[in-house]
């Protein structure tokens, strides 16, 4: 059973806005692949996909963008990086088209509208920004649900421990 995705399943987006990196990075560990502006978009997109709620923190707290950045930085094929960079550009373009300004300059509502548009044909993506949504979501889900927050707080996973008895019903 496949619980984790393939490395190459992870990757695709593009660059655009020029804004400050969020506070998740200490000065010493800036993004390894993304520009600070790109990183800010990725961080925001992942949090929009898996936000903090009353049950647990979201993708931002789980440092999902940091994980995506690290994987892209060491990716074997340049295409993986290019696809993400291009994808992020598409997000900005779509935002400009819909609201007249770049994604990170858009309001919270407008950002959700951009992502909603990208997710429109999720099961059968056609447009490049729709394909990018698939990559983005896959990477986010993978990064989040393999993180400490995802495993222990969100999913409340109690396994990977020594059990004296198997859980469940004995067959009679």
């Amino acid at each position: 059973m496949s619980y984790q995705i393939n490395r190459r399943d992870l990757i695709r987006i593009g660059a655009g806005a020029v804004l400050a990196a969020p506070a998740v990075f200490a000065a010493a560990d800036a993004p390894k692949f993304f520009t600070p502006a790109e990183f800010a978009i990725v961080d925001e997109l992942t949090e929009l996909i898996i936000p903090a709620d009353d049950h647990s923190p979201g993708a931002r707290a789980a440092l999902v963008a940091v994980y995506i950045d690290a994987r892209l930085a060491e990716a074997f094929e340049a295409k993986e990086r290019d696809d993400w960079r291009n994808g992020l550009q598409l997000v900005d373009e779509l935002s400009r088209k819909m609201h007249g300004h770049a994604f990170m300059e858009a309001s919270a509502d407008e950002r959700v509208q951009v992502l909603t548009r990208m997710a429109k044909n999720e099961m059968k993506p056609k447009a490049p920004e729709e394909e990018f949504f698939g990559e983005l979501k896959h990477a986010t889900a993978h990064g989040y649900y393999t993180s400490k927050i995802g495993i222990h707080q969100e999913m409340e996973y109690k396994g990977n421990v020594m059990l004296e008895e198997f859980v469940g019903w004995e067959v009679k």
């Binding site: 059973m1 496949s2 619980y3 984790q4 995705i5 393939n6 490395r7 929009l48 996909i49 898996i50 936000p51 709620d53 049950h55 979201g58 994980y67 690290a70 994987r71 060491e74 990716a75 074997f76 094929e77 959700v112 992502l115 997710a119 999720e122 099961m123 979501k137 896959h138 889900a141 993978h142 990064g143 989040y144 649900y145 393999t146 993180s147 400490k148 495993i151 969100e154 999913m155 409340e156 996973y157 109690k158 396994g159 990977n160 421990v161 020594m162 059990l163 004296e164 008895e165 198997f166 859980v167 469940g168 019903w169 004995e170 067959v171």
Partner: protein, 594 residues
């Protein structure tokens, strides 16, 4: 836990060992155990490395404690299922990646098995599409096997008599049953007694438990006369007093999160289950990094005189001598080795006067299956469904007494439900935002799925041969495949998908998806045949004691000798047959008959 130190023994090249065993997986390990127990001096040769396996597996490492969450380094590539059909073997040819691995390295936590499975770049093969998974290291594939441990019955051994296709095995269940018992007791097996004539019970230790969706399916199937039973795992669930290298299963769940493997060795693996105990007898010499490239022959007697092997690090070739040679290099590698062992006495390869070596290949087809949702479980508190070495097995029900199907033979299903560490539905649940997050959370434990394993008929024209041109990294000719599923397999696959859907619907499980596509040949990693047993030397390669008809001191003790695949997983049968044959060999050697 103490494991024997990482040392390679010096092979005494002057000495004539009582037996030389080629390969250290289920068959080779068992042969080492049985022959050393009989006091024989045994040399065990393994092509791969001796790994510090616990350092490889790290069964309880959390994903977030690994820099790539368990994935391989970036310069490594695992073949995807699609690559096996859109490209042609050798699949690693022209790949820009430094290392290329088979599909088992795709997806789950593959960094933990990268030193266990072979690099396709060093080990190419040619011919028809085939997903060939190989493990070259001490213990071979037993280090990462799926653990389902089933017995065969006379429905399998005498299948040809029942439906007229192919050949019966030269043994019946009564012949092998005592040896299944020995394997059960020596290695440990978990399961629940069902008293089925077509899926005989083992001497079970504590069974795994079922969760609500699985209980629901079991009860519904019971009304149809079909049996869903707790996973029969080749895992000791109560412990084994006679083995200091293994402890009982603690339900940590690691076995399905990774490619496989168990660093407390509750799951059977050949090194801790068989080889280390055999080393303690003082009768076993173990040489790793030794790729056997020929079975040598005594020209005067026509018997096997030993083997020639290549040191995989230095490339240097050595010869070792033995009174008997046992091949357990895996079904396809053993066939390759026999074909490589050409001499003036045996121009078609050793033991191949019948021309059947490499032929009559059979295996299990995979692909068809169903995924469903048990709505009653949505939003319920999650339980530790992965805290067990397997979930369920659904026994064969086709062509037992009623044989009205459009195909012959049968299939079973492996399946499970509930939550693991990673919520698989995170990828399939549409949308984003808090609604998405909550849906993933609420539904994670409510899914149930199963996939079929069907009997692939042995056919003479499904075969492997030596490629006349392509060689592996050590200059040894590689295998060329001529293996294709036939009409019976395609009809069976269709029925598997249809019956899977019907069984879920009958149990009130909402069907989410049904798959009826066959995966590439080889996917089940249950390759069998190629040196089948039989009593007629014109139509078979070995006798019922796995002795070559042509060369009595040459045995083949891996899956090669299976006459038909059955639909039950082969590992337990490989070991039971091997035990029986090695008892026989020891006796024959004592009598001077071999």
């Amino acid at each position: 836990m103490f494991l024997p130190a990482d040392k390679t023994d010096e092979v005494d090249l002057q000495k004539t060992y009582d037996a030389i065993i080629v390969g250290s997986g289920a068959g080779g390990g068992m042969a080492a155990h049985v022959l050393t127990s009989h006091g024989m001096q045994v040399l065990l040769l393994e092509a791969g490395k001796k790994l510090d396996i616990n350092k490889e597996l790290k069964s309880m490492e959390w994903p977030y404690d690994h820099p790539r969450r368990g994935d391989m380094p970036p310069d490594s590539h695992a073949l995807s299922g699609r690559e096996y059909t859109i490209r042609k073997p050798p699949y690693a040819k022209g790949s820009p990646y430094k290392h290329v691995y088979s599909y088992v390295e795709d997806g789950t936590g593959s960094d933990y098995a990268k030193n266990i499975v072979v690099d396709e770049k060093d080990n190419p093969y040619t011919g028809t599409d085939y997903a060939w998974v190989r493990a070259r290291c001490l213990g071979g594939k037993t280090n990462i096997w799926g653990r389902l441990a089933l017995r065969l019955s006379d429905y399998d051994f005498k299948a040809a008599s029942r439906d007229g296709y192919g050949e019966d095995w030269p043994i019946s269940y009564a012949d092998i049953s005592p040896y299944y018992d020995k394997v059960d007791l020596y290695l440990g097996i978990s399961g629940h007694k069902e008293n089925l004539p077509y899926l005989p019970d083992s001497l079970f230790q504590r069974a795994v438990r079922l969760n609500p969706a699985e209980v629901k399916l079991r009860e519904s199937l019971g009304k149809m006369g079909r049996v869903l039973t707790p996973y029969r795992a080749g895992v000791t669930t109560d412990g084994l007093k006679h083995n200091k290298y293994r402890v009982h299963c603690y339900g940590r769940g690691a076995c399905d999160r990774r490619v496989g493997g168990c660093d407390i060795h509750a799951a059977f693996d050949s090194p801790t289950g068989l080889i280390y105990p055999a080393l303690e007898t003082g009768n076993l010499t173990l040489r790793t990094n030794a790729t056997v490239n020929e079975v040598t022959v005594d020209k005067d007697t026509g018997k096997a005189s030993g083997v020639s092997f290549i040191d995989t690090d230095t490339g240097q070739t050595y010869a070792a001598k033995g009174r008997a040679v046992l091949l357990a290099a895996s079904t396809l590698e053993s066939a390759r080795l026999m074909l490589l062992s050409k001499s003036s006495l045996y121009p078609n390869g050793i033991g191949n006067s019948s021309g059947h070596v490499g032929h009559n290949f059979c295996e299990h087809l995979m692909g068809p299956g169903v995924n469903g949702l048990d709505k009653e479980m949505v939003g319920k508190p999650r339980t530790l469904d992965d805290g067990r070495p397997g979930s369920f097995y659904l026994a064969r029900f086709r062509n037992l007494e009623d044989r009205s199907q459009k195909f012959i033979r049968g299939y079973g299903f492996e399946g499970g439900s509930g939550t693991g560490m990673f919520p698989d539905n995170a990828f399939g649940t549409p949308g984003f935002g808090s609604a998405y997050k909550k849906t993933v959370r609420d539904y994670a434990g409510a899914f149930i799925g199963m996939g079929g394993f069907g009997e692939v008929l042995p056919r003479f024209d499904n075969f492997v041969e030596l490629d006349p041109e392509v060689k592996d990294r050590w200059g040894v000719p590689v295998l060329r495949f001529h293996i294709k599923f036939g009409d019976n397999e395609k009809k069976m696959a269709k029925d598997m998908a249809e019956s899977a859907r019907e069984m879920f619907e009958a149990a009130g499980i909402e069907v989410l998806s049904v798959n009826d596509d066959l995966l590439t040949e080889g996917y089940s990693i249950h390759e069998l045949g190629t040196s089948r047993m039989g009593s007629d030397p014109r139509k078979s390669v070995v006798n019922q004691f796995q002795q070559s008809h042509d060369v009595p001191n040459l045995l083949v003790v891996d899956g090669s000798t299976h006459v038909s695949a059955s639909c039950q997983n082969p590992t337990w049968t490989i070991m039971a047959l091997c035990w029986r044959s090695c008892d026989h060999l020891a006796e024959e050697l004592k009598k001077g008959n071999v």
